[in-house]
């Protein structure tokens, strides 16, 4: 109960701040009032296009996250095989991590069809974080346990399941939680630049052309809410997996 009260009071304060700022600026095309934005979002939610866009964007970014996770894990495993493979792969990962998202988006636009760019970009966000974390997890596996495994002649599969996996899982989980929010943001940014039809980014871009600032805020709010939802769901899933292992 106390938590709910705290949440509501904080929300109330920040919405009041927003309201005050909107009042001072007094121009709907710059800072619309909170209630106008909520109303616009409500109107959007009644349209089929809105839900179609949410699903399209979610699907695109989710695919990217899955692809990125798979590649991240593969890179982590390969890097853990030998010093050399680590030296070979780590510059690649470092470059991917350091390159600005916008550069990826513009580059990908040249090679890929605009519908695939958000997926590609989301994957690229996830790869460095996942590979780094999983690699750390692998490296930090208890050496004593591995020694014991060797002594008891455990086969690869048993070793993987009972020693490596529990060690890597917490690192993997934190990688997922960190990268999902970022991947979602980057995916939407890619959509805004590429404008693939009927995605959130497409409609977000349109609000600029139409000078429809309330709609811009409304779509942005939608992205924020979806971000929270995704993170919550993935968080719960990971907790479940952690408890089962």
């Amino acid at each position: 109960m106390k938590k709910l009260f705290k949440f509501l009071s904080v929300l109330a304060i920040w919405i009041s701040v927003w309201y005050i700022i909107a009042r001072i600026v007094n121009a709907e095309y710059l800072i619309p009032y909170p209630h106008i934005v909520i109303k616009t979002l409500g109107q959007l939610a009644l349209t089929g296009d809105f839900w179609h866009a949410c699903l399209s964007s979610l699907f695109g970014v989710l695919c990217g996250i899955i692809i990125g996770t798979v590649f991240g894990v593969i890179i982590a495993v390969l890097s853990s095989i030998s010093e050399y493979s680590d030296s070979l792969l780590s510059p690649l990962v470092a470059i991917i991590k350091a390159t600005p998202v916008a550069s990826f988006i513009l580059l990908a636009l040249i090679f890929l069809k605009k519908g695939y760019v958000p997926t590609f970009v989301s994957a690229l966000i996830v790869i460095p974080i996942t590979s780094k974390n999983v690699q750390t997890g692998i490296q930090n596996t208890d050496k004593n346990l591995l020694e014991a495994a060797r002594v008891f002649n455990m086969n690869k599969r048993t070793r993987l399941k009972y020693i490596y996996l529990p060690s890597v899982l917490p690192h993997f989980a934190s990688a997922m939680i960190t990268s999902i929010g970022m991947a979602w943001k980057a995916g939407i940014a890619a959509e805004v630049i590429c404008s693939p039809h009927n995605t959130i980014g497409y409609f977000l871009y349109r609000t600029k052309i139409y000078f429809d600032t309330p709609a811009l805020f409304a779509w942005t709010l939608c992205v924020i809410v979806l971000s929270f939802i995704i993170e919550k769901i993935v968080g719960q899933l990971l907790k479940r997996v952690k408890n089962e292992s």
């Binding site: 700022i21 001072i24 710059l30 052309i209 429809d212």
Partner: protein
């Protein structure tokens, strides 16, 4: 401990509010308000503005003003207004510049003018038209000479969501084609990208606005005007205004004479453009809009039209009516009221 936290939150809020108010003040010295009329009426004697800042684009609008810009920059003619010109590449920059008060007069797309007027409750007004149609249909396929030849083909176009899209689609439907069925349009994000696609052979039929159309023609890689869209528009009796000049209403109310001067000078620049193509072409190159040779070829293809007053209202109304039917959001959701026009 708890009081410290509370104080921190309060300071944070104050800072946030302060930052926003400060930013607003820097951008716009006068507080913006939904109401157009100021509480203090203009004084009986009108002041002259220190400087009249005009923004145009690296395209037909810049071309139309290039004579004026040349005369001002070289000091050959003295004008009643003290002009300062800026030539921008991106329409968005110009739109935000006129909104924030960085410039006083700007050349913007016609639908943007209507949308801005609606969304800002009248902070800008249209004072003159600058171009009718600026699109051209180019192709490297010599068999395409009429709209019937377009059946089953894919057109590469750019400017989705802008007048470029609506005008193209209107022309096609007026000539019996059904978008998505008898003809396909693929939209590219940037005009320059369309040119690139044409250059590397992945676009046989392209619809481009000037100056990109002439850019492609001048590249001399086998593209020619397949169908003259200007003639097509005439034949279908369509009323197309793609670009207009707008002024900040605040500026107009303070300095109506300065705006009148601009209309006079602008007309002069336009007249010179259409009468002395080669000379103006050099001025166009001077303003860094495009090379003189390209400009000289482009000018005859562009329908420049500098209209003011009632004629401007008639032309723009026709365009807005058409856009309202196609996509009301493109003009801000509703037809702009008559006071979008400055008809003195």
């Amino acid at each position: 401990m708890k009081t410290k936290k509370l104080i921190a939150v309060i300071i944070a809020i104050i800072m946030l509010v302060g930052v926003f108010t400060a930013c607003k003040n820097v951008d716009d010295p006068e507080q913006p308000s939904g109401i157009v009329d100021d509480t203090e009426e203009a004084t009986t004697e009108e002041q002259t503005p220190e400087i009249v800042r005009v923004a145009v684009l690296k395209g037909p609008t810049g071309m139309q003003m290039s004579y004026l810009m040349h005369e001002v920059n070289s000091g050959t003619t003295t004008y009643k207004n003290n002009y300062s010109f800026v030539v921008e590449s991106a329409p968005d920059v110009v739109n935000s510049a006129i909104l924030s008060g960085e410039v006083d007069i700007a050349a913007i797309p016609s639908n943007a003018a209507a949308a801005l007027f609606n969304k800002t409750n009248g902070k800008i007004k249209i004072i003159a038209t600058n171009t009718l149609n600026v699109l051209q249909l180019l192709t490297n396929d010599a068999t395409i000479t009429s709209f019937a030849d377009l059946e089953g083909k894919t057109i590469i176009a750019s400017g989705e969501g802008t007048t470029a899209q609506y005008v193209l689609e209107k022309i096609l439907t007026e000539n019996g084609l059904v978008i998505g069925e008898t003809v396909n349009i693929e939209y590219i994000a940037e005009h320059s990208e369309s040119v690139t696609r044409a250059m590397n052979g992945t676009a046989d039929i392209v619809v481009l606005p000037e100056p990109f159309a002439t850019q492609l023609l001048s590249a001399d890689i086998g593209y020619n005007i397949g169908i003259d869209l200007n003639l097509a528009i005439d034949a279908a009796r369509l009323n197309i205004i793609m670009g207009v000049y707008v002024v900040r209403t605040e500026f107009l109310e303070k300095y109506p004479t300065a705006v009148e001067n601009f209309l006079e000078d602008g007309l002069g620049s336009h007249t010179f453009l259409t009468s002395s193509v080669d000379v103006v072409a050099t001025y166009i190159e001077e303003s860094d809009i495009m090379p003189a040779a390209v400009a000289a070829k482009a000018i005859p293809n562009i329908r420049f039209r500098f209209e003011t007053g009632e004629k401007m209202k008639e032309l723009c109304d026709g365009m807005f009516d058409m856009l309202f039917v196609i996509n009301p959001q493109s003009i801000g959701g509703a037809l702009p009221t008559a006071d979008i026009y400055y008809t003195n």
